[in-house]
Assembly symmetry: C2
Homo-oligomer: 164 residues x 2
Amino acid sequence: MRDRDGDNGAERAQEEAEPGEAVELGILAGHLGFHLRLANDRTFETFADLLGADRLRPGCFTMLILIANNPGITQTGISRACGRDKSSVAKALRYMEDEGLIRRERVEDDRRSSASFVTPAGAQRVERLQEKARIQSARISAALGEARVQELLATLKALIDRLS
Amino acid sequence: MRDRDGDNGAERAQEEAEPGEAVELGILAGHLGFHLRLANDRTFETFADLLGADRLRPGCFTMLILIANNPGITQTGISRACGRDKSSVAKALRYMEDEGLIRRERVEDDRRSSASFVTPAGAQRVERLQEKARIQSARISAALGEARVQELLATLKALIDRLS
DNA sequence: TATTGTTATACTCTATAACTATA
DNA sequence: TATAGTTATAGAGTATAACAATA
């Protein structure tokens, strides 16, 4: 069923694939990208629900945590770490600046660069986000078991590193 | 330029995080969502490069394979299987119909529903897509090892099933 | 009343390209 | 010339809501 099955589920489904019936995934069953997207969607949704009012626009969560952990990080540094274009970073940072979560300063040594820092309000938000992230982690561990979660993380990191 | 200096980290970053330095990920290092997104981005990009001229709009790849494997599947069925709203499905199907990859027929038993089928041109495209998907799988297996890929797939499926 | 599919619309995230100011 | 950041713009991808046809 792995290959060239353009018509192997055919006769059965030729009439009609009814709701509730098992759908034949074909090559998708072994296609990593398909499952990565579904898993990504699912974890994103459940985390967004958990965050509730603390929710930030998606890219912002990552960027805010990065700034909290790397005070003075430049926008180019953020761009590299989160895999988004500098223009996307600029837009997200301006939003967080307007929200009072971060502040930016020109770097003295190189006045082209700007350094980002969390404000006290931003630090409080980071605290709450991290607490919610711990809850999310606990849920995932409950679903998969801690060992499997660690294995999953390690495998994803290897994939990110090695896939060119 | 792209190497890391090795030491630095938090105390170093307290002043300023310079480009090229290792970035402190903090809680992101163990945050599954962060790594899922990066892995998803990476596999998507490499697969898109591989597809080249055969590339379809992202949602369409999944939907076309589903239709090939489930001839006559309804739009609601596709919607459920790929986790997208029926309006998104309708838009994607119209696009693929315009491209000559699929055709749609009203279902006789329930004239509200429409059944989708791949055209001969669609079937050819599916063949090429599946061939490229096999190449992508081989690359991923080369990067991680076949056993680890299977383990990863199984874990992602478990996560999708169990995370509420 | 409920469901299937369509359409109009809007929103979010993102990148490209052109720009400035520094280096 | 090259780099950091900004801005305007465009484009994917998606969902919401109102709708028509059908059940």
